[in-house]
């Protein structure tokens, strides 16, 4: 995972009980046990690096967005990819799977 959980000092007064860390939260995530976590804001790789074309042939790029163990498409809330890019990304991954550049299931041998 790309995010970093850094505990910071000064617990705020309202110790609202929340379940675990929130998945895609911005700075200042969930509170647990009076400690406050500071989460780096996730950004869309394609927006930041200005990658317009998400091509099915670029299996190295696509490989970053499928899970290592099972070959599943990693959800947006984990990778931080924005909605329009995730849509194109998932299309490209499916095309790449069809032509045996990426596995449907399991890791690529």
């Amino acid at each position: 995972m790309a995010d970093e959980n850094r505990p910071t000092h000064a617990p705020s007064g309202d110790g609202g009980e929340r379940r675990g860390p929130r998945p895609g939260g911005g700075p200042g995530g969930g509170r647990e046990g009076g400690r406050k976590y500071f989460r780096r804001k996730k950004v869309c790789k394609f927006c930041v690096e200005k990658i317009d074309a998400i091509d099915y042939k670029d299996y190295r790029l696509l490989g970053q967005f499928v899970s290592i163990e099972s070959g599943k498409i990693v959800p947006r809330r984990l990778t931080g990819v924005c909605t329009p890019h995730q849509r194109r990304l998932s299309l490209a991954i499916k095309q790449a799977r069809n032509i045996a550049l990426l596995p449907f299931a399991g890791r690529a041998s």
Partner: protein, 146 residues
């Protein structure tokens, strides 16, 4: 109206496709050339054009296809109508050494990319004044679509 219809028809004839296929790993190079040239004659005879042939070389497949673990990837960029693609796919299906193929239409995506690029260039040209940049970009994009 009729002009628009004619333009539409013309657009239909000039679609661009990427045709990627995998042949068995033990296929000799000259036979690959022969296969590509037969496809090319099929393309040109039905009014299309073969824009690019790219050999991507031998690569390990992500999963076994017809009991093969490796394959030689070949990519064609073809311009033509949909009927031509139908014919090419039929040929690939019946040709024995081809183990897998995929056709993707790329002209619309390319059009979108060009549009994005144009917008970005327009923005870069006027970075100091962000306010008129969108209007300028819109003004430039309009003649392209008309």
């Amino acid at each position: 109206m009729t002009r628009a219809a004619a333009k539409n028809l013309e657009k239909q004839m000039n679609r661009t496709y990427e045709l990627m296929f995998i042949v068995r790993p033990d296929m000799p190079e000259e036979e690959q050339d022969k296969l590509v040239s037969t496809l090319e004659t099929a393309i040109t005879s039905s009014g299309g054009a073969l824009q690019k042939v790219e050999r991507m070389g031998k690569r390990r497949l992500a999963y076994t296809v017809r009991k093969f673990h490796d394959g030689i990837y070949i990519l064609l960029v073809v311009e033509g109508a949909g009927g031509l693609i139908h014919e090419l796919e039929r040929r690939l299906r019946v040709s024995e050494p081809v183990i897998k193929f995929l056709t993707v239409r790329i002209d619309e995506e390319q059009k979108r990319l060009d549009k994005v690029k144009k917008l970005r260039d327009a923005k870069r040209r006027a970075p100091a004044t962000p306010a008129p940049a969108p209007s300028e970009a819109a003004g430039e994009a309009a003649p392209a679509t008309a």
